[in-house]
Amino acid sequence: MKFGIVVNEGPYQHQASDSAYLFCKAAIAKGHTVWRVFFYHDGVNNATKLTEPPQDDRHIVNRWTKLAEEHGVDLVVCVAAAMRRGIRDENLAPGFRISGLGQLVEAGTLTDRLITFGD
């Protein structure tokens, strides 16, 4: 089955990004496809490569990057939400791309299930 995921909150502040990531990993482990993760609202803050958590903590941004590299998950950051919050191509972590809200609509039309994680 083809899944689309929406992440509406930034990393660390809220559990949403962690829950979304663990859901993706479990879906892939079961042989499903995670076709796209769309980052919206403060969720765009998951995409900055300037993120540097303490060493004993999980690196949420790098974890998403790895998921994209290893499983071809398309990580899309909403351009309007990103511009509002200072997320640009210059500070975008590998594996993420900035695009329009149409990509979110597509994640609804072209997948079997769309699941939202937020606050």
Partner: protein, 98 residues
């Protein structure tokens, strides 16, 4: 339909709002909503009352993280993330009550 709740029922109305609106179906409690699935709290009676209408699941890693794995109410099914995926896949659609 699968309804996903992520807020503590003691500080936020989303669980009860979901119960008011949602047709019979499945509910999964994740993140801070797992407190709704514990024994001995103010919500227990309410949860028991609606069990006939909804199949209620709880995301066990979230319950464990909060130190309440041993307080899970009878009748609520514990699932891991794989089980969560199965629930999403097994229902026609899902709604997150954010």
């Amino acid at each position: 339909m699968l309804h996903i709740i992520n807020k503590s029922p003691l500080t936020n109305g989303s669980f009860e709002n979901c119960l008011r609106v949602a047709e019979a179906g499945e509910i999964i409690l994740i993140e801070d909503a797992v407190y709704a699935a514990t024994k001995g709290g103010a919500l227990e009676a309410k949860v028991r009352e609606v069990m006939g209408r909804y199949k209620i699941h709880v995301l066990m890693p979230d319950l464990e993280a909060r130190g309440l794995a041993d307080r899970l109410m009878d009748g609520v099914t514990a699932v891991d993330y794989g089980g969560f995926v199965d629930l999403v896949a097994g229902n026609k659609n899902c709604q997150s009550w954010l």
